[in-house]
Symmetry: C2
Subunit: 415 residues, 2 copies
């Protein structure tokens, strides 16, 4: 009898695993909350109006259209019944599995202060990105119509919480759009005076990178006009206010890029979770209680050298391949080799011709790192069509300083 593999999530991990089952003897079902695979490393460019949502996302069922043994459904998994090998969907449907691959990703975490989300949205989905984009553009529109100086400064101050890659990339992009792209568009406000503050709790930004690269990134950001506040812990967020102990910044634009929390679905596995809610998996990316359940990507805490692997695309992709191969060999416990992550390097971009990259012992900065960053990201964009479009956008942007997709489409949050 054909075995049934159920995959939760069509991100880098889940999609890679699914592709590995292309026209095999397995019946595969992929479930995702959205209808598209998202190229998450470029999501900040949608949030900052450089790219269109369609440039970085592709319908999952289109990617898998030729794999007749794979079915894709739009749905939300809410509970795993590991005793009976069943999965429960939000709409009540029960789905049986022989193997379950959980690649459900992560949401942002507010460290227990969930009410902060109303004032400090995070960036994980296309919807998040569009909301941030509209809020940013509306802030300038509102500033243009205010005559009260305090109000104007509130609208023209952006605080980004979290000095990881996402926070750095958003801060750099907002600096570029406000200080270059929008410069000539307004009559009453001077968009060059936009304040952009990047807040980090530890003593350096991009702290998974080499110290020298962190420092260079900070300098690059400061050149773009971003204020970088290190050792700053957020104590409270209210409407238009963010507190750091006794200090307060008045701003209508707070973006949260600080913490992640894994999907609540994972709790139903009744296995060990770490503080961020991720499943602590064994060396086979599985859980000891149910060897036919695998957890990969941002939903998993895979320990290597006593540290969890980082929540980046290459880890998810490699784990996706690994577990699919394991299942195809019927998860045979005698020959099983543990998962081993091959680190091919990491990189982060700060702005035009500004980036950092760390590839084993090699450390790159400035234009070279930025060019390399662009090259790798184009290379990995999932299908030719989007590669071509994003490249065209970037080339255009590089030479024109014009950001393209400055749209406010929603009518419910207007002036």
């Amino acid at each position: 009898m054909r075995k049934r593999v159920v995959i939760i999530g069509g991100g880098f991990g889940g999609l890679t695993a699914a592709k590995k089952f292309h026209n095999t003897d397995f019946d595969v079902l992929l479930i995702d909350k959205t209808n598209h695979h998202l190229f998450q490393p470029l999501l900040y460019q949608v949030a900052t109006a450089a790219l269109s949502p369609g440039d970085i996302s592709v319908p999952i069922r289109w990617i898998l259209r030729k794999s007749k043994n794979i079915t894709v459904i739009l749905g939300e998994a809410v509970k795993v019944d590991s005793t009976n090998n069943k999965l429960l969907l939000k709409d009540g449907e029960e789905i049986e599995y022989d193997y379950l691959i959980i690649a459900a990703g992560a949401r942002h975490s507010y460290f227990g202060n969930n009410d902060w989300e109303n004032y400090a949205p995070g960036l994980k989905t296309l919807e998040d990105a569009i909301n941030i984009r509209e809020k940013m553009l509306l802030a300038f529109e509102k500033a243009e119509r205010k005559f009260d100086k305090e109000d104007v400064s509130k609208y023209m101050t952006f605080v980004i919480v979290g000095g990881g890659p996402t926070g750095v990339e958003i801060a750099g992009a907002i600096a570029e759009i406000s200080k270059k792209t929008l410069m000539r568009d307004f009559r009453k406000i001077n968009t060059k005076k936009t304040r952009i503050i990047l807040v980090e709790g530890t003593d350096r930004i991009l702290n998974t990178y080499d110290k020298k690269l962190s420092l260079r990134a900070k300098e690059d950001l400061e050149k773009l006009g971003v204020e970088v506040n290190l050792n700053s812990m957020v104590s409270k967020i209210e409407k238009n206010k963010i507190f750091f102990g006794n200090n307060v910044i008045e701003t209508c634009n707070i973006i949260w890029a600080a913490g992640n929390t894994a999907s609540p679905l994972l709790v139903s596995l009744k296995t060990k979770l770490d503080r961020a809610g991720r499943v602590i998996v064994n060396k086979y990316c599985s859980i000891d209680e149910s060897p036919n359940i695998f957890v990969i990507g941002d939903a998993a805490n895979f320990q290597e050298d006593e540290h969890p692997l980082p929540g980046i695309a290459p880890v998810a992709v490699q784990q996706g391949k690994y577990v699919a191969d394991l299942i195809k060999k019927e998860n045979n416990s005698l020959n099983k080799k543990p998962f081993k992550y091959v680190d091919k390097g990491t990189m982060a971009t700060i702005g035009k011709a500004k980036a950092i990259a760390q590839i084993k012992k090699l450390k790159l900065t400035g234009f070279i790192a930025w060019f390399f960053w662009g090259f790798v990201h184009i290379l990995f964009l999932i299908n030719f069509r989007n590669k071509y479009k994003v490249m065209a956008e970037w080339i255009w942007y590089y030479f024109s300083n014009k950001n393209g997709v400055r749209l406010i489409t929603k009518s419910n949050n207007k002036l």
Copy 2:
């Protein structure tokens, strides 16, 4: 003293008028409810997932960035006080004008049945287009998950009300996406079996065109698998049901492309309106009561040969130029020449390599008309960048049969 010109609306009419004041001695204020100029003739392509919102829209303030005498604000005009030459915005701000150009466009009209809007959305704004796109894509997703045949057929039936250019273009595009693009993407449903019904109240579609062209368009639609129901008047719309007298069609997908109604703002002018709520303007595109108020584009009823001019972009553009020139000559009543519309032809597209065009006595159909349609639309797309992108999309689409932007981004209306 510098005269103040206030323009309501950044569509074809308002934007053309504004550009005419580029660096003149007039202080110009352009007010729009959105932040972008929309290339409305291609809006149906966003609604049917062929183009991205960013492909057909440009920030108004970016277009006018070099005109230092022109200010753009995001706002909604709600009332004209013509006695005191004042305009009231929704947020309470009062704006004085010497000349007022109303280019506020139109919304769809449900002939007094405003509750129909909940079940049969129309297509005027980017937000409308995104909503229709998501509803259409979700319908197929839902059909894929239903096992009950009746439910599946409800989701896979599309009814488009109104056989004008918009209705024809939407029907043709849905036929193409369902019968060609989506064909291989699903496992349980056969998207080729999608029913698309175009409903028209009169005895032919595209009834402002020559009879032969109407007939050809109907044949072309039928070749694509669209059912065309002529002489069909909608009597009632309920959730998932549309009634034509005693007949009823069960469908979750009704799109309204039937009637227009002008902006409620026009009522406050206290002048003659036609049945569709448009201002009946004099031969100077103005109103007799207040010669310093002009109404152009879809908001106006300009009589020529005892018929109103059609609600299409060329009319709005020509009127925009005309009134701007009139104002620049200080609206001098002695030398005023009345507005004269120059008809350069009209066209409508049905599907790939299928269109009709009528240019004076010349009538085109098929591939030639379609090619011509593409050429003209690319030509008029407002800036180089979008031209280039849309052209790239179209060339890609022509050769690949893949529609690009099949995204469902909103999470609130999921399964």
